[in-house]
Amino acid sequence: MGTRALRAVSFPLVSETTGPRRALDSRDPRLYQIGALSALLGYGMTALSFDVTPARAALLLGSALATQYACTRIWRLPSFEPKSALISGLSLCLLLRTNDASLAVGAAALAVGSKFLLRWNGKHVFNPTTFGLAAVILATRRAWVSPGQWGAPAFFGFLVACLGGLVVLRAARADVTLAFLGGYAGLLLARSAWLGEPLAIPLHRLQSGALLLFSFFMISDPKTTPDTREGRILFGLLVAFGAAFVQFRLFRPSGPIWALFALSPLTPLLDRILPGRRYDWAFPKGVSDETRASVPGLLPVALRGEPSGPPVLRVLRGEGRREAL
């Protein structure tokens, strides 16, 4: 495990070497994500009185950043990169509910820590928030998610969709979101049609802030979804089936989160079957030849970061698959 982890971590060097210069690059979709999640949290804490106090939010964010910092030191990364940890912390503020402050700290640490520890083929396996939530809930049963906390006002759904859409489009990963939402909506509508339920029922289920948050901010995580468009669409559909299974066969709440948690280990498999170019936060729309040449160290590290197959060929093949977006 240890050797794999160390070797695999070479990949983040690609996006994070040039840290300071690009820290405020407006092309980084994570800045939009942080803004959107902060706005949602503010709205939730004020208008919707979420069960999260300012102190708890500070604790979650602090723990996530501290873990990121510690891991940066342990793995000797060249610079401290707070954005991704901040996103995990904000997502946990929106989702994790517990009376126990130590569990909040644990969830944040596990979420961020999982990025460094649970890696396969140079990518982390789980969306950090999903992993932190699932681990704490399964291990202690003293934490929970309140999927009903958002209510279903249409304007709110609209707001989340807009903000989320922005993030996804910037991250060029709308395909996985659309595949999931389309698949899940299709399953809900089909089930209701089969049961003879009025249309109001599936629509009410779809008008859920929790569902939109999941679709636009969690499953869309480009670092943990398959590298190719085909892979991502397949993955989105699988998670949709999983979510419906949890919801309507097991009769457990928060189906999407559990489905994503259970199916994330499939991502390496999908990447093996459908190999493609690895995502880089710094280049959401793909890496152009000019940028490639202008970023020192990118190519050599990319070569090191690919453990299987002839690396040069790999990069070139990735280039050929560049998306339209």
Binding site: Q149, A152, G196, I201, S254
Partner: protein, 416 residues
């Protein structure tokens, strides 16, 4: 004495849900006042029920649980400001109560041709119980109608979903001979125990025949903590506010108006949390906590588990009181619940503060008089905000002088 009348909410149903793991014990209380011949309930249940899984319980248990969890008024008496120290006098409970039920009688035979199977037939206490399954909803609706159940016209549309999910139908009516023999003057609550991952309450059937919004109280008893709905927002009823003393005489009206106003603000889209507390205690108590035997009778089945018995102090039952006003437009789907690990206490609690009425002829007394005036104004505003009552009406009932700032600014320039 300001005791809220028990019959505050019309058309209200009360359901006690005891839940741990996949096990559920559901108690359906009813306050049916008509001819017992006319009483019938049809409840979709997730599994087949044997005779031993059905029971006629005690109405007093549900009444006690209602009283224990009801929103409460607490009174404080200000100390002599020229001396010091405040104390609690007593808590007055406020209760909300039920109605439930609809139609009359039954028999088999034609059942088969309609695709309806009478899976079992029991007499439990004063009730005749049928467990039905059906191949299709039209057949079930016809069967129910032919057997004297006054099923609303929209019912088969709603029944359809339950039929396809292979749910059973628990149908109960009153056995008049048994009722006479047992000698109860009222109908006892029906209790059913079943094992199913579904933690939900079917409300859609009840809405099919409703001519207005319905009122429902759910009392959940769990081992771990608070219960909430997963497909609707659960919000806390506003609590812990100081309100004018006169409310003591009309606490029932206050609670009704408060609830209606909160429903309006949430656009009738939310379920309200009115109480969440460890069953072991209360502060202040609207009624004593339920005794161990009462909890067992309501279905709290884990009290004798050795693992729980060892836990000293608080009890192993956590009670959640949810209150919802719903109609089909705003609550299209059945209520789905989850148990959380939240053991924080919450209660609907409203505070009356009696000012000190003795001699105030000291320096502190003068300041106190001003504080009380300010406080009264605040109380009036709290009450108006909570209930939607007009501030002017509240003020006049409190016999308050109009506040100085109610004059227009120009009126203050030249006097009057």
């Amino acid at each position: 004495m300001a005791k809220g009348d028990a019959r505050l909410f019309n058309r209200a149903s009360q359901v006690v849900l005891v839940r741990d793991g996949d096990r559920t014990v559901m108690t359906l209380a009813n306050d049916f006042r008509g001819d017992p011949k006319e009483f019938a309930v049809v409840v979709p249940v997730p599994t087949f029920l044997t005779r031993g899984q059905i029971h006629a319980g005690e109405r007093s248990l549900v009444e006690h649980l209602d009283a224990y969890t009801a929103p409460r008024l607490v009174e404080y008496f200000d100390p002599d400001p020229c001396q010091a120290a405040a104390y609690l006098k007593d808590a007055i409970s406020m209760q909300a109560v039920t109605v439930s039920a609809e139609a009359p009688l039954a028999s088999p035979a034609r059942a088969k041709s309609l695709g309806v199977t009478i899976e079992a037939q029991y007499t439990v206490g004063e009730y005749d119980i049928l467990i039905l399954s059906a191949k299709e909803s039209d057949g079930l609706e016809t069967w129910l109608r032919e057997n004297g159940y006054r099923i609303p016209s929209g019912a088969s549309r709603v029944l359809d979903g339950y039929v396809k999910q292979k749910m059973r139908f628990f149908v109960a009516k009153v056995n008049l001979q048994e009722k006479a023999r047992l000698g109860f003057s009222y109908l006892r609550p029906l209790q059913v125990a079943y094992e199913s991952p579904k933690f939900m309450l079917p409300i859609r059937l009840g809405m099919a025949n409703a001519d207005g919004p319905q009122e429902l109280f759910v009392y959940a008893l769990t081992r771990r903590g608070r219960v909430e709905t997963t497909n609707y927002r659960t919000v806390r009823l506003p609590s812990d506010q100081e309100i004018p003393l006169y409310v003591k005489e009309q606490f029932g009206d206050f609670y009704k108006a408060l609830f209606s106003e909160q429903v309006r603000r949430e656009r009738m889209e939310s379920v309200f949390l009115e109480y969440a507390w460890d069953m072991g205690w209360c502060d202040p108590c609207a009624a004593d906590p339920l005794a161990r035997e009462e909890l067992k009778a309501l279905g709290v089945f884990w009290l004798d588990d050795p693992a729980d018995a060892r836990r000293g102090g608080g009890s192993n039952a956590f009670v959640t009181r949810l209150h919802v006003r719903y109609n089909e437009a705003h609550f299209p789907e059945d209520l789905v619940f989850q148990e959380t690990a939240d053991r924080q206490n919450f209660q609907g609690r409203y505070v009356l503060r009696h000012p000190f009425t003795g001699d105030l002829s000291c320096e502190a007394g003068e300041r106190y008089r001003n504080d009380v005036a300010r406080r009264h104004e605040q109380e009036a505003q709290n009450l108006a905000t909570l209930t939607g009552w007009s501030l002017g009406m509240v003020r006049s009932k409190m016999k308050l002088d109009p506040p100085p700032d109610s004059k227009k600014w120009w009126e203050r320039i030249w006097g009057k």
